[in-house]
Amino acid sequence: MSTFTSGTLTGRELHLSFGTNHVLRGINLHVEKGSTASVIGPSGSGKSTLLRVLNRLIEPDSGDVLLDGRSVLKDNPDELRQRIGMVFQQFNLFPHKTVLDNVALAPRKLLKLSADQAREEALAQLELVGLKHKASARPANLSGGQQQRVAIARALAMRPEVMFFDEATSALDPELVKGVLGLMADLAGSGMTMVVVTHEMGFARNVSDTVTFMDAGVVVETGPPAQIFDNPTTPRLQDFLADVL
């Protein structure tokens, strides 16, 4: 993987309500520099919302978000998000642009690279995800797995300090899941700080350094994968694991 400086991300006592719906009820999450945190839990437990609060796509009602120990809630949210890459369940590539332009757009406009530099950067990132040969294709002409790898390249092209994955493989056909998970594991192994919301228990167990189990807007249990999967202490986690494993 290319050179990057990864950061330490902390969420403290995060609360968020949509009307009367209390989605996050005091979430604490600490992801050490260079480590990978998996967030697991049933649908509707607030996992995806947590990611969006951590990069301020949604502003929390209360609590704090720290990057390398410094609160970022008063920063310009656009500048914060330039430091945090995000990959979505539905890929969300820009369909009106070529694969190359999808990856080059943000470096060109936000990092103010020249057209040539942005192109070089984009091609380098596409090479890392194995899709340099698709640079001139449109997203619609790629398979789901290819689209998701382009989405990862697009996020990495901004040289983020942290990467978020929001159920990045949930929309993929089963035979395409492995390639994307392999890429994510490579990225984790290269020292990127990652927060991975996932239903892939194999990935959570084998790749992540910590696993956090959320349910109904609270962190029920958190710890190393071995502890979470082999010795769950709470009935709720035991029930959840019994359902998914």
Partner: protein, 254 residues
């Protein structure tokens, strides 16, 4: 002369039609295209502003756009053209010294077109999946940049057929500018045909004008169908789908 011959002479007198063709092509056609083209461009600019206001989170912006759209979509074209073209005449004369109603005609057409085009743009922008805005914001783009670079370009593409339809309407509505009283050199297709019909007491020149309108609008109608079809089915695929991934063996199908 029986009735059929009389009808043919009234509507399809070859000599009368041929006689008016030079005027139709050198005076009427350029003016019609200028009126429709200029008000189409101006209408698109105003329409985009209206569309962005219409989806703004600021209720004052939203309501201003709403009221404007309701008013100008609700009025007959001829009423707008007369009110703007004649009503604003003295103001323009005061400011510029010009008594030419032609620019005011373009302005009136633009204001009307903007109301329709604004709604077309708004529906196009709102049809873009919310994930597009979210992905753009997640990269670090501001709301405005995300709109400009990601959402609006996709929205416009989807409403191209409706925009061409709007341009067809403008070609037809530009005929109403004659209400403002124009110089001989400013007459558009309808007025050229109508004048000749009035002078000769024969409707054939007007039929010639009608045929010229159809020559303009029918190809555009088919252009709409073509764009519509292309947007729904996509460009014919030419790239090959060969897979070579260092990470896994993915299927080549999408």
């Amino acid at each position: 002369m029986d009735l059929l011959d009389q009808l043919a002479e009234t509507f399809f007198s070859w000599d009368a039609m041929v006689a008016i063709v030079p005027d139709l092509l050198t005076v009427g056609l350029p003016n019609t295209l200028l009126l429709a083209g200029a008000s189409g461009v101006l209408g698109c600019v105003l329409g985009m502003i209206l569309a962005v206001m219409g989806i703004s989170r600021n209720p004052i912006m939203r309501w201003s756009a709403r009221i404007y759209t309701d008013v100008f979509r609700g009025l007959p074209a001829v009423v707008t053209i007369l009110l703007i073209g004649i009503g604003l005449g003295p103001v323009v004369r005061e400011l510029t010294g010009s008594t030419n109603p032609y620019p005011l005609g373009i302005f009136a057409l633009s204001l009307m077109a903007a109301a329709y085009i604004g709604e077309i743009f708004r529906s196009g922008i709102q049809s873009v999946e919310s994930g597009q805005m979210e992905a753009s914001r997640a990269l670090g783009f501001s709301y405005g940049s995300s709109m400009r670079l990601v959402v609006v370009p996709q929205g416009i593409r989807r409403v191209l057929p409706a925009l061409v339809n709007q341009f067809i309407s403008l070609i037809k509505d530009s005929s109403l500018i004659y209400f403002l009283g124009l110089l001989a050199s400013q007459r558009e297709i309808f007025r050229v045909g109508n004048d000749a019909a009035g002078n000769t007491g024969n409707l054939s020149p007007l039929v010639a004008a009608a045929i010229l309108y159809l020559i303009l609008t029918i190809p555009l109608t088919h252009l709409v169908n073509f764009i519509d079809h292309r947007l729904r089915t996509g460009k014919p695929e030419t790239t090959t789908a060969i897979e070579e991934s260092p990470f896994a063996r993915e299927g080549a199908s999408s």
